[in-house]
């Protein structure tokens, strides 16, 4: 496998973003809104992805092939933050997302000392995404029934949590 790095998105990444953002498999298993047009996707990209302080392109040998983001809480939830990710389907099964999650979570704990917990939730049917989190050292804490609407349907999700004090899984 080539080198996996994270970097902020640039406007010039739009074509690669669109390539996997319109991938049916990626959309089915993620929270990504289905983009009805290139304009929708471009809008989302410019208004959400680019300005977001914690959105990162997952890059393979410098080329963006997916994204990962971190959303910190505030007030009584300021000790925790949520991560989400999506990867182009043709890159699945190689440990790329796991690596990206490990890079991001260790950066988060280093740069945000108030964050004691990083969490992620996945559709109970999304076994591959659950494996990513387990390999990255997250603990499955429970199944939250009918927790959120994904692709128009209320969905049961597995909630995973990683604490700044949890053992660090070896980065490989």
């Amino acid at each position: 496998m080539g080198e996996i790095t994270l970097r902020p998105y640039e406007v010039s990444d739009i074509d690669e973003f669109l390539e996997w953002a319109s991938d049916e498999e990626v959309i089915r298993l993620s929270r990504l809104e289905r983009f009805n047009s290139r304009e929708d996707a471009l809008c989302y990209f410019k208004e959400v992805v680019i300005p977001h302080p914690c959105y990162r392109a997952i890059c393979l040998d410098g080329r963006p092939i997916g994204f990962i983001f971190f959303e910190p809480g505030s007030g009584k939830t300021k000790c925790r933050g949520l991560i989400g990710y999506a990867l182009g389907a043709k890159y699945w099964g190689q440990g790329i997302t796991t690596k990206a999650v490990k890079i991001l979570t260790s950066a988060v704990f280093k740069e945000f000392p108030e964050i004691e917990r990083v969490e992620a939730f996945v559709d109970v049917e999304n076994k591959a995404s659950a494996r990513v989190l387990e390999k990255a050292g997250f603990q499955k804490e429970g199944i939250l029934r009918k927790w959120i609407v994904l692709n128009g349907k209320t969905t049961d999700v597995s909630m995973f949590g990683l604490l700044s004090t949890d053992p660090v899984v070896g980065t490989n």
Binding site: K76, C79, R80, Q139, E141, G142, R145, W147
Partner: protein
């Protein structure tokens, strides 16, 4: 706010228990539980120290709240119970919260109030499929309330919330609109 008619308890045991909106005229009863540090131990807020803060809470938080009720004994408020609503993809769930004056603890009053809420909220909010509640791992009394009211314990979310400056592990409970409900 819809559905503001009082919800009354049907069995004899709790026939004088009811839920109704809380108003500024209830301020003195509100201050009884809101100033008690036994009550606020597992709340994110500190005990109230003056009536004006209490009145501001009622005006700014209670009155505009999507669903907030006083728990009443013979129509006098002895606590409160509320359900928050969410929007967008989170609209299928609402969070339950409750508080009761400490001298009324241990009599099954909150369990009864929770059951009353469960019996009306899913009708009032047809988009709601999940009622959830988060309880501090050390708040065993509150966990028992939810278990007796028919909620399922789904897991412990570690260092989930900040309470009085410290991150706390919280137990997640839920009741779905389709779950069986224990008899009131």
């Amino acid at each position: 706010m819809e559905g503001t008619s009082p919800v009354e308890s049907s069995k004899n045991e709790y026939s004088n228990l009811s839920l109704r909106p809380l108003d500024v005229s209830d301020i003195d009863d509100f201050m009884v539980w809101a100033t008690d540090e036994k009550v606020t131990r597992f709340c994110t807020w500190e005990p109230y120290t003056n009536k004006e803060d209490g009145l501001n809470f009622i005006k700014n938080t209670v009155l505009p709240h999507p669903w907030f009720r006083a728990i009443c004994l013979d129509n006098r408020p002895i606590g409160a119970i509320s359900v928050t609503s969410n929007s967008g993809n989170d609209r299928c769930r609402g969070e339950l919260g409750y508080v009761l004056a400490s001298n009324y603890w241990g009599k099954g009053i909150v369990t009864r109030a929770v059951k009353m809420v469960a019996d009306t909220i899913f009708e009032e909010w047809p988009h709601l499929e999940r009622l959830e509640a988060l309880v501090d791992v050390e708040n065993v009394g509150s966990q028992k309330v939810l278990e007796k009211a028919g909620f399922s314990r789904e897991g412990v979310l570690r260092k989930y919330c900040v309470l009085k400056g410290k991150s706390r592990d919280m137990v997640m409970f839920s009741l779905l609109s389709i779950d069986p409900r224990p008899q009131i």
